[in-house]
Symmetry: D2
Subunit: 347 residues, 4 copies
Amino acid sequence: MIVIMQQEATEEQIGAVVERLTKNGFQAHLSRGVERTIIGVIGDRTRLFDMALEAMPGVEKVVPVLQPYKLASRAFHPENSLVPVGDLVIGGEEVHVMAGPCAVESEEQLLETAVQVRAAGATVLRGGAFKPRTSPYSFQGLEEEGLKILARARELTGLKIVTEVMDTRSLPLVAEYADILQIGARNMQNFTLLREVARINKPVLLKRGMSATIEEWLLAAEYIMSGGNHQVILCERGIRTFETYTRNTLDLSAVPVVKYLSHLPVVVDPSHGLGKWRFVPAMARAAIAAGADGLLVEVHPNPAEALCDGPQSLTPENFRQMMEELARVAEVMGRRLGGGAGPCSCR
Amino acid sequence: MIVIMQQEATEEQIGAVVERLTKNGFQAHLSRGVERTIIGVIGDRTRLFDMALEAMPGVEKVVPVLQPYKLASRAFHPENSLVPVGDLVIGGEEVHVMAGPCAVESEEQLLETAVQVRAAGATVLRGGAFKPRTSPYSFQGLEEEGLKILARARELTGLKIVTEVMDTRSLPLVAEYADILQIGARNMQNFTLLREVARINKPVLLKRGMSATIEEWLLAAEYIMSGGNHQVILCERGIRTFETYTRNTLDLSAVPVVKYLSHLPVVVDPSHGLGKWRFVPAMARAAIAAGADGLLVEVHPNPAEALCDGPQSLTPENFRQMMEELARVAEVMGRRLGGGAGPCSCR
Amino acid sequence: MIVIMQQEATEEQIGAVVERLTKNGFQAHLSRGVERTIIGVIGDRTRLFDMALEAMPGVEKVVPVLQPYKLASRAFHPENSLVPVGDLVIGGEEVHVMAGPCAVESEEQLLETAVQVRAAGATVLRGGAFKPRTSPYSFQGLEEEGLKILARARELTGLKIVTEVMDTRSLPLVAEYADILQIGARNMQNFTLLREVARINKPVLLKRGMSATIEEWLLAAEYIMSGGNHQVILCERGIRTFETYTRNTLDLSAVPVVKYLSHLPVVVDPSHGLGKWRFVPAMARAAIAAGADGLLVEVHPNPAEALCDGPQSLTPENFRQMMEELARVAEVMGRRLGGGAGPCSCR
Amino acid sequence: MIVIMQQEATEEQIGAVVERLTKNGFQAHLSRGVERTIIGVIGDRTRLFDMALEAMPGVEKVVPVLQPYKLASRAFHPENSLVPVGDLVIGGEEVHVMAGPCAVESEEQLLETAVQVRAAGATVLRGGAFKPRTSPYSFQGLEEEGLKILARARELTGLKIVTEVMDTRSLPLVAEYADILQIGARNMQNFTLLREVARINKPVLLKRGMSATIEEWLLAAEYIMSGGNHQVILCERGIRTFETYTRNTLDLSAVPVVKYLSHLPVVVDPSHGLGKWRFVPAMARAAIAAGADGLLVEVHPNPAEALCDGPQSLTPENFRQMMEELARVAEVMGRRLGGGAGPCSCR
């Protein structure tokens, strides 16, 4: 951390900053310029975050040197982390596609989708049983019944299950059924929930908040990791910008950036990022070309009848076509799709 | 709601949309232009939100005509809502200033602050016992001990207490102590929590999420109101933009806009919006001039020693000076500060 | 400037940075931490901007310590700058309201508006003769004929004229007629135009670009000032954010921030910032309460017939009422409206 | 266009809107709902943009149905447009990579770069002779001397030249040397310049403004096309968001969206979008996988000595490696790199 003093800062003010730092166990190095004095600070990065030095008289600004997260940083763990989900591995050579409807609506809807996405090469089934909806008047999910339907789909198809957990109260229930616990974008900074999933021995798919910086996202991962659960999968799903033609702006550059800053696997959700099914395949291809370890894609047997997010859902047929393209892009990246599909496979 | 069909939409596609609408109890009115057919839809606005018409073949886009919220809208309740907090009324003629530290740190710190902000004209004491912090390594609050200290400050000074509730689990405890339950910006779309505070007979101060549109903010209020609790106070606290000099961009235009769209009272938190105490008084004045019903301001007896948000905290002396200015601005607006302070008072 | 080296930076890499700096006339001070080496750099701030140190091997990031502008900074010129416009002074005790239509449409329209805004207390008449329009099919302005009409309105009413100059080619013509040259938001970084107005001895009203940071805005002012013209008036007019209910998000916090960083006067344009006339008076009051030196407001005798920006234009009657409120807010701020209006005046 | 009337709109107000529309040659269709009356409007879309109906009493809002651009829309021109640049074609089967330094600094620097990017498969050489710089103290380009150096590089290598034109004054000079005229992001709404390049028979590469919506970008293209020059190449280069780790947020979803809305070719500039060379190859691959027709990439023989944008420049060796990857991604897309490079070629 570097403390930049104001031009008019007095010796007393400079001394007070140095004293405060040393009293708290940090080392301070003064550097006096013509116009400004600068104080370099050495010590535990995670504690520096809390020293309110900018509130001290004479301080102009405080510049962090090290990232405020540690367990999530690549400096701490230089190799890519692999997150096993049963017999699958997220973050390894295989690219995994997690597909399914926005919400579980009925057994028939889910099983039909599951069979079709499995056939096309998906390895994980997505589907919400508890739905965070902007309006209180919208369909809020089938809750436990939805989880049971997901479990039946898993039995039938062998697909793993990723589903959202919205609060600590339903966490034990969701954890009983899910293979991967999804933390939604609106809950990325629900710190109570983060601390609770940290105590569970299950992979967590942590979506980026709609207005979260990459640093805040990695700090949210740090909450889970520092609580004891290192099985974190990050998921870019679009950020909020001024552009309104797409639902959000999918920040694909987050993929290489997170890969550089962190060792955690990164998957991309182009469905929420775009909000329009028509553009999903192009961005799914781009995500894999950018280095993503997987995708989260909405598929519905009849998007026009969907209770949630129909406009961004692919039909099973669209999905199948997309998977063929993705297999070829994965191959160019020296990877392959987890579900066995690929340009050279027996399809 | 208006459904705009694609230029190349077929008669079958148009018919399917109309049929789907009428089957669901809506009336549909066709209007055929040279290039496009448009379908006007009449029916329950809160249910339209969920019809995934954009996913139907031939549909170009769907344009809502009515706001998707009802109880929070001024059309539903033309008069300003008044929210009583004990003997205070938020949203009436009096402008209420809620002041205090970011976090309750100790009894001494809080009581000192309480006495001073009371003397300067504040009517409500703010202070966090449960703190949502970006980093897991930051001070997370004194929890129940903090609530007890807040209660002692209330006894001592007569100030009402506003404090944040972070999750459903601690809600009963926080509700026992607080006069106003604060929902933080990061929890504005924690729908489980919204539904739970809806069942409690206490005023709720609902902060706008960092990237929430005004419509989403009012829909979050609608969650609380539709659950039975109409005592909602909205709080603008800055939105996230590209500008980095300030911590957030305080969207003061939200004040007149919300006053126009809704009947709920609106207060402004310039401390979080700016992130730098130096600019807080100017924006506090501006907030009242824009029509805000109150303010939420961070005050700390020693900002440089604050465990949280010191750089944006006013000293008690700065606060006192600001309150004198605010009293004069309130007077110009035909209002007065709730705490009895004012340019003509006996201070 | 501070150079933060990567953790794994070698001695050669550190040495190369130091050598590059000293070769270019800067002083470099090394500070070696446990995890990182930091290099403090002293020298001409305006040249540091161009040293591509972040491209050197081993460099993690470069942090500027001083603002990259000089002439526009308050450190360079501690007193408020006063910009005279004939017998008016912008930036002094008087708050000046510049009012008029978006575009000059006809002599009748402009003269009627001019007479009415003058009566209500405006001191400067605004009106575009050259209009930057998003669509090529929109009304593009009356050009020279518009300038002549503005001049006639000035003769008739004594109001000063502010009007936009869109390019270097029409600059001599516009400069012949205008008392204040307006640089529009879309041209804030039209550096050719900035350099050209720098050579003219006329006040320049420099609108903030829609996505310009405060630093970039002050650097645009620096272009004009470093070219020899110090008569710069800054104008906040709203920035682009995710909120769509208002046309832009008026960043009123820019007013106290710019007043702190710079000595230049700042005025606010709530009409473009909001895009809806209904909310203009509230934000105009807020702007003055925040410390603005003036306002730029759209007024049209018949907004529904306006060729440009009708929805955000006040009628003369709305404007008159607003001015009465503004006079009272100005008084609370220890100022008065330039046009002589005020709560105690003889209106 | 659809006009939505306010709930309390009177018959007179509705009548006035209808009258105004019919008087201006539009057809108006009334549709009366329980809560609102809606008016469907039929007529010339490009003129509707200018009817200030939202300013009429009783009007709630106006919703456009058709895009406000015409010549740039795919509806107008269903086939992809091909833009020939000498013997190259932009927008066809070949993906063209335009590479070179941010600024032309010297003959040696440019020729070295040109030879190397040519060898790696680039077909167009980029390099600025006139540079729009945020600070007036930064290197502003070699101007005509720079153009001459570009011409020599063209002679030497056969590469086409793309270079920025900053204003109408230097346009004839730049047009004399350039094969493609680049309009920079800051000039996307410099309408005077757009109208002027519209009169020149040369391809124009139109960068998206930093805060321009896709609609505004296509309207800027419409300026050029409606003036007579249909050879427009669009270039996505990143938009401004709250994320600060990258210089801008590269909006790759703009590629499939623009391909859907328009027939114009789209290229991507990952160098400006990211601001850090390290992430450029990943996003370049992603751009092609998303369907881009080409790339604009900064390459400098010695980035650490670059006078401009060194941190985002690839070395020639990095560029060469990237091109090999890009060739494989292009192949998956059923395309090939313009410069003859490819996984199966004779390199």
